[in-house]
Amino acid sequence: MADPDRSRVVRYIAIAAIVLVVAALVFPIEDGLSVSGFFGDKTYLLILQDNDEIRGTGGLMSAMGLVTLHNGNIASLQYYYRDSPELQALVKLDGPDSLTQFFGVDSAKLYDSNVQYDFASFAPKMQSDFYNVTGHKVDGVIAVDFTAVEAVMNITGPITASDGVITSRNVADRLHYYSETRGSEAEMSELLSTLTFDFARLIRDSSVQQKLALYTTLQTLENEGHVLIYPAQGFWFRSAGGESVPTGADSISVVDTTLGTGKADFGINRTIDYHVQLFSDGSAITTLTLTYANGCWWEYDVFSTALVPPGAELVAVQNATQEFKGPLVTNGDGFTALSSRLLVSANGTGSVTYTYVQPSVVSASGIGYHYDLYVQKQAGINSYILNASVQLPPGATLIHAENVGSDQVFTGDAHVSVVYT
């Protein structure tokens, strides 16, 4: 005979599980309805970032759309292009110091003002700048890059436009072409508007299975920094970059800006070589090498900033590239920035190596000492190679190591973890 107390516990657990499952389903739906304008119209600023020309927040802003959603439908949509007077307006830059000091600039055209280290820092300023320039207030800012457009088109299918058929295979090149040829606003408008309406229609009319596919796709794109939403939308999207690293841990975040050589990042392979030597007092010496392999037949000009923990002291820098300027060391809220400009030869390789001392990157707890390195991928970058090695203090014994090794390819953030006694 069943124990009545045991049955009651089992019943409570079952009810709790059902409540959890229902909540997990209902909250995203509620968030989705809110985002879609079911609880009042919502207006968003859509930013198309060309991640073939990388910028701090993910890519050159090729176009911006002002979209208002009403009960899940697009009530209005208006696109602005790079050449439009609104996006050509000059706005003040509020940093970052690495860029403003290195280049001696304090303003930029609106379309080229995404110079912050992450989208979460940039988006509120963009909301304000966009309002000042256009008079339009927005509830949020959504950025998508070309990688995201290709992924979404794999679901929505091709578009038949006046300029031929556009598929996920050629959409990036068509967007490049339209943005670089005069008088192509109509084609760009047709393509982006069709894409936007197709996407909204898919969200509204698709089957549950397709909606889940779309949701999973968007979450993956968001996790990898190809779709960025500000402010966070509850259970849907929670990250727009700029997450803080746990206190006492080591971290590296490389933020690149492609300069005068234009669109080239489709041909650039990035490698982070990270070697850290730990000492028994918890301090460390790090040797960080950033390598750019240029697969393009033209030079690649990049302004590269490595954000490392506050208190890091640069002791040496070396470079192996065609031309090099730097380094510049600046400090911000919670980081030290090491910046250099590299010119990488056509079909060649360029690198910069920083050696710096960190006062404390090891924590002691539980069974031993913990060393954690958080590698934050820049939005817009498709992938990078991480070579991570950790040299323990003399006499230490390794207990556990994660993501230590060579030729590790990541499409998102990475976490290197070492435990030793």
Binding site: S7, N154, R169, D173, R174
Partner: protein, 191 residues
């Protein structure tokens, strides 16, 4: 509802969620659906090296080659460099993973003797399995580029080789190049 029924219901709900999520995942991992192009019966068909015309534009497919071919990449880079600051944009010849770039060299002639519209976007490459791949980009010499690519119109005396690039899966073998901007379309065999 007793404990067993509650637990069973919870498990069923969980199972439904897992199955839906798994099927969503399988949808995601699927490659993009192939795009087909149905050649109309009225299309003009010619072999490689032959010229076909609809009375407005005349086309001759000279060859289709892989962009990794030294001669092909050399021509492509030469035309980009020759344009200097007037280049529309530089196009890397390094294809994405699991893809290759095929370049069709087509001689384009205006036979209308008046300005005619033109877009490289009307070129389609048909693979052996019938899948259609639409053009990514094109290059040609400076005089041609100003008309065919910048202004998308060909003047009355226009004639030039245009190099049209297609991104295709690595195993794709080209069978035909179709120009859909002609009436009727012009189908050029690449064999």
């Amino acid at each position: 509802m007793n404990a067993k029924q509650g637990a069973a219901l919870g498990l069923v709900v969980l199972l439904v969620v897992v199955v839906l999520a798994a099927s969503a995942d399988s949808l995601l991992s699927a490659p993009p659906a192939n795009v087909a192009y149905t050649v109309p019966a009225s299309a003009v068909r010619v072999s490689s090296g032959e010229t076909a015309s609809d009375g407005t534009i005349a086309l001759r497919l000279n060859n289709v080659s892989d962009a990794s071919n030294a001669a092909t990449s050399s021509v492509w880079i030469e035309y980009n460099l020759a344009l200097g600051p007037n280049a529309i944009y530089n196009f890397s010849l390094t294809p994405p993973p699991a893809s290759r770039y095929l370049v069709a060299n087509v001689t384009v002639t205006n036979v209308r003797h008046t300005e005619i519209p033109f877009t490289y976007g009307d070129f389609v490459l048909i693979g052996r399995d019938g899948t259609a791949y639409y053009a990514n980009y094109a290059v040609c010499n400076a005089g041609c580029s100003a008309q065919a690519l910048e202004n998308r119109t060909l003047n009355e005396t226009f004639t030039s080789n245009v190099y049209v690039l297609f991104s295709v899966p690595s195993a794709t073998e080209p069978v035909e190049i179709v120009y859909t901007g002609a009436t009727p379309p012009i189908v050029m065999s690449s064999a």
